[in-house]
Amino acid sequence: MKYIFLVSFVVLSIAGIALTLTRSDVVGDKPIVYWQTQPSPEARNRAQLFRQWLAENGRPDIDLRIDPTSPNLSKTIIQGVSGVGGDLIQINIGADLTYLQEIGILEDLTDAALEHGFDTSTFASRAVSETTVNGRQYAYPFQLYVLLLYVNKTTFEELGLPLPPKQMNFETFERLGREFVERANPPGQPHRRFFAESVNYNTMRRSLGLDVFNETLTACVLDDARYERVLELIHRWTYDLRILPSAADISSFAATGGTPFGPRLYQFKEGNIGIIGGGNYLMGAMRQLGTIELAVIHQPAEEFPNALFGAGMLAMYRGSKNKAAAYEFLRFVASSTWNQSVAKVGDGIPANLQYAYDPDFLDPPNYPNEAGCNIVFVEAVELIGVPYSYSPFVPFSISNKIDNDAYQQFMAGRMSAKDAARRATELINREIERTLRDRPALREEYERRLERQKEIDRLRSEGKPVPLEWIDNPFHRHYYQFKGWVAP
């Protein structure tokens, strides 16, 4: 028995060593770079384009491989802190970038960006806060997005309704929604066709001047009548007027056909949903369904028109074993070839906005049904896009989950709007206290900001302007400028 065991052990050991030595990255003649991204035809096409670009520029060949990942960050975190992260990491919001930088797995790209001509002065100014932490650049924005609403023009025409205007306040949205569902659904029957798939409560409360955090990001301030108003409106639109589908209605859509972006696009095309939300990246998926006559409008908003803005970004893993090759891909992302490819494919807005005004991007010749849509997205990026706000004193994953949970509890009828707003505020503020307890090093910065917040509150209560550099929250920076509250 012991000899059988010994022989098995030796054979397995030899096989293991042989396997290791014959791995393609060991015996291959070109470096391998792993790109953590959501697998899609576009990603594969860009990998192909990268190789062409290398050849055209006389650079050595690189084997770029896609490491499939989901928008959920957990895989990136687990691999990153285990020392086996992909060389290049795709990130979709600045909050995730900040978190990955805090856990130390991102390479500082400030110098490389300067060398590649893709530093913060070269791309859209609103993307700067998304790609930097404490003034250092940790990612290259490879495309931008802003969340607006798509209108299926055919659906409205068939119902004999005018198209919704580009901007709507809450009252107009409700009035048009009621007209839509009355025309679209047989009387006395449960609604199966809805005015809009959803509205963004974040954008809605921001339009009333309210954000999750205060100006210095030191406290959650959601316990506010403005948020209660937004919650009650969405509840009314969903369950009383039925102009928005409930979670159960949306779940039912899942049983009736799908696209890479889920069954929602199919329902939109079929006219069961008049309006859906998303960035311009959705147009690529919609093209697969055939021709949909599209218009783009803003989310319903009151006083302060705004839209959630973000950037698709590429960061480098600090533990990468092929940094030189990974830098080559970043150089490619900074190139005109990449930006032109984004403009041509139309799956995002080029990070360098000069490419976003390419006529072929604004009015794609092969897709006349999309004419006039991209310009609304580009203008929104320049004028009303505001990124998510995230505090250094509470991870975004936690504050966002608490905010979302309270919203769900309210929508499920588990608590009143007032209780939901209060609960979200209490729990997020408790998490801030907990962070300060767990990480005493942050206390000093927190106290400093707290003092500044008191000063801001005092100035505002006296109706005086506030220096813009005092404000850390990106929403409040835009809001204060909009209101003319910024000290010259």
Binding site: Y99, R318, I398, Q409, A412
Partner: protein
């Protein structure tokens, strides 16, 4: 004397060989079990957060004593998620009953003696017919109904031809089917509109709505009161059995107290969860009267002496079962009360995974389905084959009915298996729920399906709080450990009883 060094050398050589054989296993155990276990224990008492400490960040860790545990116990979410976990575990008694019934059914031989060729022929025709129907009618409602009817016939005939092996295999299918595939399948089944479950329920609920609408006034209240009376009846049954067993010296004081706690839980929750507070607040009072009567009756007779922990297993199994039934009646009574009002606008099937109150029962139903034909059924099948035939024959000769033979012969003989299944199910239940939450609901809606194991995952790998996640894992371990201790303490005695 001269052989001693040789003997020692041989012993040493044997020892080295033995260690060599064990080394892969030992190294694996050390690397993947013991060291991570000790590390997580250390983490639970530290402020280990990925932002402070990982292979790239090396800020000094701080010993925080019991802070993580204190935070955990103060956090409302922990209690909510523990409640979710325990709620899902209430399906365990039903699972056990289901597994036992399946095992009893499958221990029979369904094979017919003759005409096998004809049966094979019919089965083959049905299989081909079903495929043709699917191809012609598509996967629409009619096609699915025809197909399902064909498959049912095929299964029945297959059983006649090949015996119970076919059914044993079919019942075991959920256990060896990949979990995520099953979860996705159930997600489709539960789809609120167009899902097969609701398609099946819709006409039944329509019929029920019509029936409820013609019910006389106050029938809502009658249904509520009937459910509460039945709950009291179950309580009375439990207390009556407990009293008799206690006075006869078959159950000790500890199992009586634990059983009373379990039976008391529905009593405690009725005023809180009941549909009509004005009535439900009197339920504990009525239950108290029942309890008082039983206590008086118990104290009037002389009790046979027995150890304090005698009869633990029987007491807990019975109490858990009665508790589950009481909770079920509580829910049914509430539904019955609201039924006329709901039926006025027509009854709609539940939204299952999308509704806060239905998400947990939906998961529970799926778990019961998956667990009935699992290893529990195999254990019962093995247990049934070990029941001595002489005992059955003796009971038969004594004129025992089928049920009496089961209750007085088979069931006691299955005690070791039952106890093992209960313990393993409870341990599995406490640790379970992660895959379902991850694949089906992401822990929602509003945290309704977040269990403790999913909570550990989100805290560790979404929020990066390794210390806190370890603390949760150790609290979970403590619960499982207590149950294991319980098993050691009472398992063998229950079996011998």
């Amino acid at each position: 004397m001269s052989n001693l060094p040789l003997q020692r050398r041989r012993q040493r050589r044997n020892f080295i060989h033995g260690i060599g054989f064990l080394a892969p296993n030992l190294l694996g155990f050390l690397a993947f079990t013991l060291i991570p276990l000790l590390l997580s224990l250390f983490m639970a008492f530290s402020n280990w957060d990925l932002r402070l400490h990982n292979i790239f960040v090396r800020e000094p860790l701080r010993f925080v004593g019991l802070d993580q545990f204190r935070t955990l116990l103060e956090q409302k979410d922990f209690w909510k998620f523990l409640g979710n976990t325990l709620f899902l575990m209430m399906g365990i008694p039903l699972t056990i009953i289901g597994s036992l019934m399946a095992a009893i059914l499958l221990s029979q031989d369904f094979r017919v003696a003759s005409g096998r060729r004809l049966i094979y022929l019919i089965a083959g025709v049905l299989l081909i017919g079903s495929t043709v129907i699917l191809a012609l009618a598509g996967a629409g409602a009619t096609g699915m109904v025809l197909l399902m009817s064909g498959v049912v016939c095929l299964v029945l005939i297959g059983g006649m031809a090949a015996g119970s092996t076919v059914y044993r295999t079919l019942f075991y299918v959920p256990h060896f089917t990949a979990g995520v595939a099953v979860f996705l399948l159930w997600k489709k089944l539960y789809s609120p509109q167009g899902g097969p479950v609701n398609n099946f329920l819709a006409p039944i609920l329509d019929g029920l709505a019509g029936f409820v609408r013609v019910l006389p006034a106050h029938s809502d209240m009658a249904m509520l009161i009937a459910s509460r009376v039945l709950m009291l009846g179950l309580l009375l049954l439990g207390l009556n059995v407990a009293r008799k067993q206690w006075t006869q010296g078959d159950w000790g004081t500890i199992p009586i107290v634990l059983g009373l706690i379990l039976l008391g839980l529905p009593v405690w929750y009725t005023p809180r969860w009941g549909a009509v507070p004005a009535i439900d607040q009197f339920f504990p009072l009525a239950a108290g009267v029942v309890l008082l009567v039983q206590i008086v009756l118990a104290l009037r007779v002389t009790r046979m002496p027995c150890p304090l922990d005698e009869g633990m297993g029987n007491a807990l199994v019975l109490s858990a079962l009665l508790m589950t039934l009481q909770f079920a009646l509580l829910g049914l009574g509430n539904v019955g009360f609201h039924l006329p009002q709901m039926a006025a606008d027509g009854l709609e099937p539940p939204k299952w995974l999308n509704e806060y109150h239905w998400a947990k029962p939906a998961i529970m139903i799926m778990s019961i389905w998956a667990s009935i034909g699992s290893n529990n059924m195999l254990l019962y099948l093995a247990g049934l084959s070990n029941v001595p035939v002489e005992l059955q024959e003796a009971a038969d000769i004594d004129g025992a009915t089928r049920f009496q033979r089961f209750w007085h012969v088979t069931w006691p003989q299955l005690a070791p298996v039952t106890f093992f299944i209960v313990i393993m199910s409870v341990m599995g239940g406490l640790q379970g729920g992660f895959e379902m939450a991850r694949a089906m609901t992401a822990g929602g809606p509003a945290g309704a399906t977040t269990t403790l194991s999913y909570f550990v995952y989100t805290e560790a790998f979404e929020n990066g709080r390794m210390g806190y996640a370890s603390a949760i894992a150790w609290v979970l371990f403590a619960m499982v450990f207590l149950i294991t201790l319980f098993n050691w303490k009472f398992g063998s005695r229950y079996v011998n009883d």
